[in-house]
Every structure is written in structure tokens, then in C-alpha cells.
Subunit: 354 residues, 5 copies
Amino acid sequence: MARKLVKKRGKKVGAAPGTLVHVGDKTDTVAQIRVVDYDQEHLRDQRLKDPNACRAFKSGPRVAWINVEGVHEVHTVEALGQGLGLHPLVMEDILNTDQRPKVESYDDYLYIVIKMLQYDPLQHEIRPEQVSLILARHYVLSCQERAGNVFDGVRERLRTGRRIRFLGTDYLAYALLDAIVDNYFALLEQLGERIEALEEELITRPTPATLAQIHHFKREMLLLRKAVWPLREALAKLTRDETSLIAAETRIYLRDVYDHCVHVLDTLETLRDLLAGMLDLYLSSISNRMNEIMKVLTIMATIFIPLTFIAGVYGMNFEHMPELAWPWAYPAVLLLMLGVAAGLLVFFRLRKWI
Amino acid sequence: MARKLVKKRGKKVGAAPGTLVHVGDKTDTVAQIRVVDYDQEHLRDQRLKDPNACRAFKSGPRVAWINVEGVHEVHTVEALGQGLGLHPLVMEDILNTDQRPKVESYDDYLYIVIKMLQYDPLQHEIRPEQVSLILARHYVLSCQERAGNVFDGVRERLRTGRRIRFLGTDYLAYALLDAIVDNYFALLEQLGERIEALEEELITRPTPATLAQIHHFKREMLLLRKAVWPLREALAKLTRDETSLIAAETRIYLRDVYDHCVHVLDTLETLRDLLAGMLDLYLSSISNRMNEIMKVLTIMATIFIPLTFIAGVYGMNFEHMPELAWPWAYPAVLLLMLGVAAGLLVFFRLRKWI
Amino acid sequence: MARKLVKKRGKKVGAAPGTLVHVGDKTDTVAQIRVVDYDQEHLRDQRLKDPNACRAFKSGPRVAWINVEGVHEVHTVEALGQGLGLHPLVMEDILNTDQRPKVESYDDYLYIVIKMLQYDPLQHEIRPEQVSLILARHYVLSCQERAGNVFDGVRERLRTGRRIRFLGTDYLAYALLDAIVDNYFALLEQLGERIEALEEELITRPTPATLAQIHHFKREMLLLRKAVWPLREALAKLTRDETSLIAAETRIYLRDVYDHCVHVLDTLETLRDLLAGMLDLYLSSISNRMNEIMKVLTIMATIFIPLTFIAGVYGMNFEHMPELAWPWAYPAVLLLMLGVAAGLLVFFRLRKWI
Amino acid sequence: MARKLVKKRGKKVGAAPGTLVHVGDKTDTVAQIRVVDYDQEHLRDQRLKDPNACRAFKSGPRVAWINVEGVHEVHTVEALGQGLGLHPLVMEDILNTDQRPKVESYDDYLYIVIKMLQYDPLQHEIRPEQVSLILARHYVLSCQERAGNVFDGVRERLRTGRRIRFLGTDYLAYALLDAIVDNYFALLEQLGERIEALEEELITRPTPATLAQIHHFKREMLLLRKAVWPLREALAKLTRDETSLIAAETRIYLRDVYDHCVHVLDTLETLRDLLAGMLDLYLSSISNRMNEIMKVLTIMATIFIPLTFIAGVYGMNFEHMPELAWPWAYPAVLLLMLGVAAGLLVFFRLRKWI
Amino acid sequence: MARKLVKKRGKKVGAAPGTLVHVGDKTDTVAQIRVVDYDQEHLRDQRLKDPNACRAFKSGPRVAWINVEGVHEVHTVEALGQGLGLHPLVMEDILNTDQRPKVESYDDYLYIVIKMLQYDPLQHEIRPEQVSLILARHYVLSCQERAGNVFDGVRERLRTGRRIRFLGTDYLAYALLDAIVDNYFALLEQLGERIEALEEELITRPTPATLAQIHHFKREMLLLRKAVWPLREALAKLTRDETSLIAAETRIYLRDVYDHCVHVLDTLETLRDLLAGMLDLYLSSISNRMNEIMKVLTIMATIFIPLTFIAGVYGMNFEHMPELAWPWAYPAVLLLMLGVAAGLLVFFRLRKWI
Ligand SMILES: [Mg+2]
Ligand SMILES: [Mg+2]
Ligand SMILES: [Mg+2]
Ligand SMILES: [Mg+2]
Ligand SMILES: [Mg+2]
Ligand SMILES: [Mg+2]
Ligand SMILES: [Mg+2]
Ligand SMILES: [Mg+2]
Ligand SMILES: [Mg+2]
Ligand SMILES: [Mg+2]
Ligand SMILES: [Mg+2]
Ligand SMILES: [Mg+2]
Ligand SMILES: [Mg+2]
Ligand SMILES: [Mg+2]
Ligand SMILES: [Mg+2]
Ligand SMILES: [Mg+2]
Ligand SMILES: [Mg+2]
Ligand SMILES: [Mg+2]
Ligand SMILES: [Mg+2]
Ligand SMILES: [Mg+2]
Ligand SMILES: [Mg+2]
Ligand SMILES: [Mg+2]
Ligand SMILES: [Mg+2]
Ligand SMILES: [Mg+2]
Ligand SMILES: [Mg+2]
Ligand SMILES: [Mg+2]
Ligand SMILES: [Mg+2]
Ligand SMILES: [Mg+2]
Ligand SMILES: [Mg+2]
Ligand SMILES: [Mg+2]
Ligand SMILES: [Mg+2]
């Protein structure tokens, strides 16, 4: 329960727009800036000490990818934003990691927010991380909350690949989005496997813990849906928009990411429906079990209650009870008891209880 | 239960349109009018005794912000409305605090209704307050139901800030809207925290009070949704509309408020779904507990019922019961009883009840 | 249950379009026609004996308001319709009081259907009544099912007001629509109050009658929604439509009615959700109560069942039961019983049942 | 359960488009073709033996109405289709009676599918029948599955009416659609009456049969919705479409049918919601009843269990039980028992169980 | 449970777009390529050993249908794709069998994804298979996962039919789509039959296995909906799109497939609602049965508990119990017992329990 559904942003209330305050998990690490700039022939990969040095890439001759790990350092993001001429609202949103996925057009760049999602197999929890992308003519700025290896594949392809080196910032931004969305499938596989295992458990041996698990996964689905649902609209905007920053050729690739996103949402919806069905099944199986218990109690009690009564009658101490002296009375009463029990058993059998 | 879901407006039924009647909570305080007018160089902050004096600001050379606290004084709102040339229907809506959030275009001004929302941590209740904004070329009129400090940040920025002093009434109106919507996040944080605490309580020690709390928060969610849902459409209209009252530059800021509003609605929807899931969980845990209780009763009753019957049989007073005289009969019956009990325990173990 | 959800219109099946048959509640009263015609200077209020006399108002120099109370008189409606040149389908719909709210454009008039809604505080039932409006250049025809006082305010304003006397038939039609929709708020207030009282009752002392009441109000909500939901679209059409019958100035007033209608629907939706939540709460409180009952039974039965067994054992009549002769046996058995009871009480306490 | 939710069309799988196979209920009757052709002065009503003779009406001088009863005769439909020059897909759809309601434009005719619905009061079941209409310039072809009297009203009006004889095929097609949709109201009346009777029964004396009935009607509603829902869109298309086959004047009449269709769907939705509410009510009343039963059992058992235990104690046969010899012991024990019972009754009263 | 809801595509995460990796069930069979090329006069049907030979058909004079069975052979699909000049993303999607149905336009071809659905009557499971179609000017490429006979009808019509031989690749693609969608009806028939049988079983003799079956079919419905729902939009795009690859005449045929798809979705929705209703019915019938069981227990226990108590009282061993000596005491007590039992029976009868 450490991960909150609603993030704290108390300090921000009432502040001027563009007030730069970090909203998100606190961390002690130092923010890292790494710049890869390349054209078809050359590629340079460097670590940037001074964020102000980013100005060099704002309209450089090559494609520059400026990657920041750690948006908790307000001054770093501020220096980058001022160096690259970003709108104060954009800087504010980069720092506030509680954004919905979205695409916003500014005069000479696009601002894209997307959620990176990691599955924590110990807690069975999804850990979301906000990624902000600035797609400009000459550079792509990507801001992550924490260090991570999800962009390693892109970095590798920049070094060794061909297509990506011949195309512009739009294709680079696509490659980053694709890396994040591809990762959603890995997440869904793990979730799907856990949920199907839970279903198996539910059918063979349901326990109260199964119920808690179902509730837990329904909760994770809420978070997942909140993180992915707005992305669909955002990606659709990218494939449609009339911005000159994205070439027609790249739009085909973005359509593929959009397609993946819709697929993820379909699967998510299916898993949600499956969990809802599992809850129904759990409740029914509780009712079934209660029925079983009640049946056993009712059969036992109903058979013995009249027998015990008969025994009680002949345990009374009245002086004038002529039956008590009859020699065949005892076996006769035992037979009577047997008859009552048999009659009740037949009655239960007719009701299909046994 | 003091706060009603449906406000009384009985007196208004059948009245002519534009009939000025206050609909809302009654109060004894005196309405306050405060006017801040400013340009890049000067700023004047004054209290207005006579509402008719507002005429001076209708087309003054500076930007004027006329703030009214207390719309229960019909004559004050009427004087202001007539001084500023407002449509009778607008005056009517300002007085009627039971409006949906909305934006309406009139010839030379926009009329905006929005709900200010405060969380009462004692009653765990949301206290809504209606704010009406008139955005005209030379002034912004804001009408609140009660005194409050939500606009203090804007007032402070007017005194000390730069950007807000260089821009027009559109930016001022934005700043007021932003202050209100930012406050929603504070509200959601408090609600979210309470609801997650409730979830914790539900899992560890559910009581009937937990159920009442879940119902209470579902109810608050209904009120919240009613207050925020129409705002989305209203703000979308502001960022889209072809009115010349809003500059393109300000639209970017309004898009940010719109974005916040959508975020609030997303979170609200998530909290609603969470509460629905919690209700399901509560019902299931009741069923589980009932199962436990029934199992204990069934086991106890089922084991002792036949034993008590056997004891009853040998408590009968028939004269001819040969077993009674056998020397080993008593321990034999005790062993029989032990056997029956053991058999039933094995049966329950096979059923996995114990 | 006197008011049917589906009205009988059996006679109409298979009839030609425009066949004039009354569908609705039968009544013995005589239909009343009342005509108010006015301009800025004069106003005449008369009762019309002969419906054919309406021809005079079809293109008279003044604005005429022809109000009919009692559409069960087919010949009256027919005479009016022919006198004013109405389409046969319009006459048919006026007589058939089982219409959805709607707006239909004809060549030189608009046909508007709306539901007047009255709350019957004895039966807690909504009584709907259909009102048909014909908005033409020179007259407004309004047809009600029964006599009533909902238009008295409009009549009063015609006599004494100014604005309404300076404007045309479009403003008159607006005033009639407004009078009806304003009345919805009175209805919602009464319903809301009853439902909140029911909620209070549900929380403090739920009975099966509470459940029947919840069901009853859910049913009324269905009827209400059916009567108001289509009105939204109809009013939106009025504020939008390109008909020359409605002046731009009047559209602002119609937008206000539309706004009220949306507000009514919002409140309705909230009340519906509240009722759904109340049903959930009722079901949960039944389950809670069952738990309480079962707990008491289980505790009592479980404590006494083994004690009664022990007493039964020493009530057996075997000759060879050495314990029976021991002097301390009786108090020892009493102590044993006490110990068993105490053990079980500790067990229940550990389970948090007591 | 004779009427299947999914119709068999196995033979058709894999066949070429336009393959003519009848899908629907088999019947032994012979298909009947009846042609009415008319203008303002003349009307001829004849039975057509040879379907090929229909060619004469394809572009005859009068309006011709070709009505077929029995689409199970593939060769008849094929001959008609070829005679009138229909597209193979249209012929295929006429024969396949498992179509959704729809309107399709072809070069010189419109193809309309609609469901005729009959209520079987014995089985409380809806019997759907598919009607196909071809609206061409000079003829209307209507194909029914079985003989029936739903079009008798139209036939009568053709003989005696005026309007219908002066207008073209579009008005004739409208008259046929109107006859079918008018019939839906009769159906809804019968359904609504049965459902309200069921509601009455549910409130006064619910039985498991009530539940089965609710389920049955929910099922009928599914079928009804499937048959009527797509008709709305189809009729909207007819009132909107730019085809020259429908005159502006007729569109007003088609708008009326559309209006009826929307009304039917509204009522259907209301009945569905009512049935859902009835199911909730049924489940709640079961729970209430269970509570009653448990209360009686708990009260009886809880009162007598300790009393029986006390009796058991003094039924033990220990030699040293001094109380047994006390003269007032018996009445004292009886008083003790009375006290225990009274105490428990007070406890139950405090819990509001009795 | 062998068929997973979420397919594994782990290897693909982080790979470059267009990386060719098979996602789907592994198989040992060899991929088969079969080419049918034809014009009105000639038809040739051959097996292609070398996939590179497909280049000959890219712009051949005849219509060519290239059918591949087995997309697990990456190199085969790659060779085909390169030979026909397909976009890398298309090749990637052909290999990744976990796609949503869709239509994508490329410069000179359309890419269509559709699901072939087979019902496994042993497992009562739906087995989906992905089919990719490339519709180009001179060829249609169809890629299936496994060998199968669903296209046999098309092959037969190519050999013997007339229409299909006179028309282009668009009509061929239509024929393939039609064959697949027609098959959905067969599937629905089988599912519908099973579900109606289950409903019958539910009403006559519900068991926990019935519940498991309902859950199973709800799950299959989720899968089915996921496979068919997006197809509607895809087919709508085909009938609408402005591509020159599809002739107006063929669009009429595609509209027919679209119509079938909508029909399938309607039926699916109906079956889903039916299953939801069946679950409600199951839960209610469990509650009803519990009520029955409780009633029997309560009646038996409530009648005998006071009788046994009375017997217990007169089984006490007090010395001073004067009744014990009365001669009529024993029959009087028996009568008392009878009276108590009769009273309770009357009470139960009044409550309508018996
Ligand atoms: Mg922002
Ligand atoms: Mg969000
Ligand atoms: Mg969302
Ligand atoms: Mg995909
Ligand atoms: Mg979907
Ligand atoms: Mg489900
Ligand atoms: Mg208003
Ligand atoms: Mg509102
Ligand atoms: Mg709302
Ligand atoms: Mg935001
Ligand atoms: Mg959501
Ligand atoms: Mg939920
Ligand atoms: Mg009508
Ligand atoms: Mg209606
Ligand atoms: Mg409705
Ligand atoms: Mg309003
Ligand atoms: Mg709602
Ligand atoms: Mg609710
Ligand atoms: Mg068809
Ligand atoms: Mg269909
Ligand atoms: Mg349907
Ligand atoms: Mg109607
Ligand atoms: Mg309902
Ligand atoms: Mg409900
Ligand atoms: Mg792809
Ligand atoms: Mg996909
Ligand atoms: Mg889906
Ligand atoms: Mg079809
Ligand atoms: Mg549907
Ligand atoms: Mg549904
Ligand atoms: Mg249902």
C-alpha cells in the first residue's frame, strides 16, 4: 500500500503557472544528462555535466537526443528548459510526474507525456514512471524519473542500425515511444499469467486470500487503465496531426505504436472482465459451500432431534407409565426410532439433498 | 445530512426569467466588493462601498478585477449587473447558486460558472461553493458565496508578479480558474487518503461502520462528479471558442487548466471504481465470516447431537433393558460415543472443514 | 399501480396516419379554449366557444395565445387543427398523449411536445401530463390534457409585464416552456427530500418497507427519465435551429431553459445513483444482521450442547457407573461443565465473536 | 424453448454470395403472390400464379404492390428477383430470414428489412417474422415469411382512401412500415401488462416461479431489442437519405415512423430497467425471508437450550446431590427456568428481534 | 486452460520495428505456398517451392492468389514480403499472430488482418487463427497459421464459377473475407446451442458444474468479442475508403460482409446478456434452495425443542415433584406436548412456511 493512488502535490496549490516544483517520489541520486548526437556518418555519446550546455543542440546540424534521468532536480530541468526555450507550463509538467499521457503542440516543438510501466513480481504491483518527450526539429529531449534500461535497445540501434541514422528526430521519438509501449506487452504477459493462475486456484481451492488477490488485481487494473487509456488519444493525435515535425513516412510507424496501444487496451479490458467474472464465481462458490454446510447440519439435526425427544419421553419419572413395564417396549421404541430415521432419510433423498 | 443533494428554489417556480432571487445557504454577513485595477506600472486595491461605482471600471483604461463575496445580497448583485450591463439571465444565474459549471457567450462578455470545493475533515464532507466569472474586455467580475482565501495567491501575484501584470483580463480569468482547479487536487489528496485508509481498515478489521463509510464516500463522489464533470466541457469550450476576448497565448494556459480538470475526473473515476470494489470486498468478507460461524456451529452440533441421543437412550426408564445390568456396558457406551465423535471428525477433515 | 408504464393505444393499430383518436386518460370534463391576444398596447383575454373561430388568429395583427385544456375532445382538436392548417400527423400527436418530448419543423410552424410533471405527495407518485405547443408566426397554440395552474404566472406577466408584451410568439412559447421546466425543480425538491428521508431511515432502522420504497422510487426515476431525457435534445434543437420563427434574442432565453433541463437530468442521474447505492446498503445491512443472529445462535448452542451431553451421560441408568457413588462427583461434574463453558467463551473471544 | 436465439444457416457457410438458400422455419404452405396496382382512378387486386409475370409491373404506368407470403419457396423468390432485376445479394437476404433490420441503397431501388413481431399470449413469447421491402419507382415488393393480416388495413385504405391513391410508391412503402411499427405498440402493451402483473405478484407473494418469469421476460427483451434497435438507424437513414425515390412530403410521414420506433425503444429500455429492479427486489425479499426464518429458529433454540440443560443437570443420577431432597427445590428450579427465559426474551427485545 | 488469454511476445520487446520474429503457437509442419492465377479464360493452380518466385505475380497480367499456410517460417514470409515489396511493419504483423483485426492502407496495397475462428466441440473452446490479407492491384496474398479447408469453397468457385473469374483482386479478397465471416455463423450456432442447453439445465437441475460452465462461456465470449469487435470498424473502412483498389461494384459485396459482421456482434451481445442473466438465475436458485433447507431445519428444531424440554423437566430426579405421582399426569403431559406441536404447526402455516 506504499504506492498511493493520488499523488501529493500540496505545495503547488495556489502557485503561479509555471512554478517549478517537483511532484513525485523523492530520491537521493544525482540527475544524469546524456546526449547522443548523430548523422548518417558520425555518432557522439557524451555525458553532460552542465545542463546549460544543451543550448548547443537546440539547432545543431545533427540529430541530438538529450536524455535526463531524474526530474527531481528542479534546477537541472529549469536550466534545460531555458536553454531549449521551453514554455514554463511544459517545464512545470515535466517536474510534475502525476500527469496523464498527452500530446501538446507548441510553436516549434511537440510535448509528449507517456507512462513507463514496470511489474514488481514480489509485490505483484505495477510501478509507473513518467517519461516526458520534447520533439523538436533538431533534438529530442527525454526526461525519466529514474535510471533504467528501457532505452538501451534504441541506443544500440543508433550505434549499429542504418534506418534510424538516416531519419530525423521524429523517427527517434517514435523509437522511444515504441520501446515504452513494447514493454507494456511484457507487463501484460506477467499480469495475465498471474491472473490465469489465480483463476485456476479459484476453481480448484478458493480461499479468502484468493478474494484479496482478485481485489488487488482489480486495483492494479484501475491504475493500468488510468495510465494507458489517455495514451490512445494522444497517439492518434500524433498520427493525424498536421505538424510539419513528423514526416509522412514516420506516421506509418506511429500508426503501428497506436495499434499496439489499442491492443494493450483490448487485453486490459478482457482481463478486467475476467476479474469481474472471477469475483462472481468466488461469491457463488461461497454460497455453494454454505449450502453444503447447512445441508449436513440440517440432516444430522433433523434426524436426531425427534429421536432424542422419544428417548426423553421414556426418561420421564412418572409413576404411572404402563409402557415402561412392557417387556417388548424397549426394542419396540428402538424400532420406532429406526423407522423415524429411515423416514427422514427417504424424505431427504426425495428432496435430492443426499 | 445537513447538506442537501437538491437545493430549494421553490420561490422561483413560475417567476419571470431574470427575476432576481437568491437560491443558496442563507447567511448574515454583509457582501464585500473589492476592486483591484492595474496596468504594468500601477496597481490599486480598494474596497467598494457602493456597487454602482463599478460603472467606472466597465471600460476603464486598466484591467479591473471586481470581486464580490456574498451573493445573498440581491440588491448588490443587481446594482453590479446593471452597472456593467449584464443580461438579466446572467444576474439570475449569479444569484442562483445551484448551477452546473458552464461557459456562455454574450455579445461582449463570457459568463463562466465553476464550483469551488472545500473538504470538511470533521464531517468528511465536501462543501461546494459557486463562483461566477464575467470575463469582459476591461474587467473581470468574480462572485463568491462566502469569504475565503482561495484567490489570495492571485492577489499576491498581482502585487509582485510580472507576467500577470503585462497581460489582459483573459489571463486574469485564467489565473482565477487555475486557483480553483488547483484546489481540487488538495481535495482529492484528502479524499484519496481517507479512502485508502478505509480500504486498509476493510481488509484488516471490517465492521458495519466501514460499510457506512463506503456508502458515505460513494455519495460524496456523486456530488463531486456532478460538480466537476460539466466543467470539462466548459473549459474545452474556452480553449476552442472563437471569441476575441481570449488571446491565443492565454489559450495555452487554459489548455493546462483543462488538462488538470481531465486529470481530476480520471482520479475521481478511479476512486469511484475503487469504492465499488471495496463494497464487493465487504460483501464477500461478510459471506466468508458467515461461513466460518456456520462451520463452527455445524461441527459442534453434528458431533454432540448423536452422542446426546445415545445418552438419552440409556437414560430411559424401561424395566426390561438388559444392557443396563451388564458390567462393561457403561465403558462400552463411552467408547461407542468416542468412536462416533472420531468418525464425524474424520468426515469433517475429509470435507476440509477443519 | 393505477398509472401504467405503457399506455393503451390499441384502437390505433392499423389506422391510417392522421387518424384522430384520443390516447390517454378518459375524463368527463368539457374542453376549454381560452385565447389571449395582445400587442404592446392592448390585451384581450376571452373564452372561445367555437373552435372554428380560431381561424381569426392564424394571421392576425397581434400575438395570439390559444390555450386548450382537455385534448380528449377529438372534434375540438380537429376543428382547431383544420382552422390553423396543421398537418394531420400533428393533430394525431396532439391527441396521442403518449409521445416523447420532441421538436418537429413544419413549413410555417414548429411542433413541440413536452411533459408537465406533478408530484402526488399521497401516493409519492409522479403524474405526467402531455403539453403540445405550436409555435407559428402569429400565434402559439398550447394543448394540455387537463385544467391546471402552471401557466398562471405567464398569464399574469402578459397582463402586467413589459418585456413579454414587446416580443413575439417565440418569446411566448419560451415563457410556456420555462414555466413547465421550472416546475421540474419543485418536483425534484420533493423527490430529493423523500429519498434523503428514506436514506436516513435506511441507516437508522431499515425494514422491508424501506426496500419497497427504494424500489418504488427507482421506478419513478425510470418514468421521470423517460419524460425528461428526450427533452434535452429537443431544446438543443430549438436553440440551434435555423428557423426564422425564433429570434436570436430569444435563443439566449431558450438556452437558459436547455441549461435547466440539463441540470434536471444531472440531478436525476445523481438521485438514481443514490438509490442504487441505497439498495446495496440495504442488502449489506440484511447480511450484517443475519451475521448477528447467527452469532448469537452459534454461541448459545455451542456452549450448551456439550454441557447437555455431559448431563445426559450421568443421567444414564447403567447399574455399573462407579462415579455416581463418589461423594465429590456431582460438584466435580459441575466444575467440568463450567470449565467447558469457559473454554468455549475464550475460543469465541479469540475469534472476536464476543 | 422451441424458438432458438441463433438460427441455423449451416448450409450457407462457404457458398458463393448470392447463393439462394432459405434460412428460417420450414413450412408446407404454398407461397402466395398478390398484386394490387392502382392509380387515382383504377385499382386492380389479383393473385399471381406465375412469378415471372411480375415483369409487367417493373415499369408499369401505375403503382404496383407485389406482396409475397412465404419466402421458403426459393424458386418463387428467384423468379421475382430476376423478373424485377434485383441484385443477387438482395435475393439472398430476402430468403435468409435471420437479418438485422436495415436499409440499403441500390441503383434504382431501396432494400428495407424490418421485423414483424407477434406476441403469443400462451407461451408469453414474441414471434418475430422478417419482412423485406423493395421500394422502386413503379412498384413495391413486400415479402413475408407467413400469411398474416397486418397489411389488411393498408389494403382497405387502398380501396377506400384518397391520400394513398394520389401518392407514389414511397407513400405505399411508408404505409407498410407504419402498419408494422404500429403493431409494436400492441406488443408492448401486452408485455407491459404482463410485467406489471408480475411486479404485483412479486410484491405480494413471490415464489421461485416469479423468478423464472422475470428471467423469461429479460430474455424476451433481449430478442426484442435485437429486432428493434437497428431499425432506428435504418429509419433515420430513410428520412435523411438523398435518394430521389422518396418525396419530401413522404419524409414527414417517415419521420413519424422513426418517432414511433424511438418511442418503442424508450419503452423497451424502461421495461428492461424495471425487470432488473424486479430481480433485485426478488433477491432482497429472499434475504429478508431467510432473516425471518433464522430469527424464529434462533429465538426458540436460544431460549430452550439452557432450560433443557438445567433439566438435564437435575436428571443426573449421582447419589450425592443434596438439592434433590430439598422440598422447595423443584419449584425453585422451575422459577429459575422462567427467569432465564424471561432474561433471554428481554435480550431479544433489546436487539429488536421480537 | 492451455490457450492463453495473453500471448507471449517477450523476445520482441526492445527490438527494432520490422524485426521479424514469429509470435504464436509453435509447429513442426513445413509452410506451404500455393498460387492460383487466373483470368476469364485460363486458370493455373501450382505449389510454389521457392518463395522468391512470387515476384512473377507482383504485376502479372492475370489475377494471382498467393496462399501461405504456416507463418511460423520467418524466412518464407520474409522472402515473400521482399519479393512483393511489403513494408517491414507489415511483414512483422504477419508473423505476429497476436494482432487485432484491422485494415491499413499502404501506397499500393491494403493490409487486412482478420481472425478465423474454429469451435472445438470437445473442450467447448474457440480456437482462433490469424489470417493476413494483402490486397494489391495484381495479386492477393493470404497468410494462415495452419493448413485448413475454409478457403476450399473459394478455390472451387474459381475453378467453376463465372462471376469471380471476371472480376479483379478486390472481389477475390472479398470472397476470402466472406468465407471467414460466414464461418462465424457456424461457430455461433454451436455456441448458442450449448448455451441454450446450459440454460435448460440451469432451470431443471442446477449444479456447481453448471456455474463453472457459465463462467467458461462468459470467458469464451470475451475472447470472441475481442476477435470480432474491431473487425466491424475495419470492414466499415473497406466499404468507405477512397482507395482505387476496390471497385464500386465490389463495395456492395463488402457491405454484405460488414452486415454479417454486425449481425455476429449483435448475436454475441445477446448471448453475453443471456449468460449474465443465467448467472443471476443461478445465484437466486442457490438462495431459494438455502431457504428451503433452513425452513425444514427450523420447523423440525422449533417443534421438538420445547417438547424435549418438557420431557427433560419430568426426567428430573427431585424427591418432591407431586405431579409424578398423579395417575393422569403422563397422558396429560403427552397431550400438552401434542398441543405445543400443533400450535407451532399453526404458527408456521400462518407464516406460509408449510
Ligand atoms: Mg500542466
Ligand atoms: Mg491522469
Ligand atoms: Mg482514464
Ligand atoms: Mg499490435
Ligand atoms: Mg474492444
Ligand atoms: Mg464479466
Ligand atoms: Mg439560468
Ligand atoms: Mg448541475
Ligand atoms: Mg454530471
Ligand atoms: Mg495534468
Ligand atoms: Mg477511467
Ligand atoms: Mg470495480
Ligand atoms: Mg406521430
Ligand atoms: Mg417516450
Ligand atoms: Mg430514455
Ligand atoms: Mg441551470
Ligand atoms: Mg452515473
Ligand atoms: Mg452508487
Ligand atoms: Mg446479406
Ligand atoms: Mg444482419
Ligand atoms: Mg441489436
Ligand atoms: Mg411517438
Ligand atoms: Mg433499475
Ligand atoms: Mg440495479
Ligand atoms: Mg504492428
Ligand atoms: Mg493490435
Ligand atoms: Mg475487447
Ligand atoms: Mg447478415
Ligand atoms: Mg445491441
Ligand atoms: Mg446490455
Ligand atoms: Mg441480463
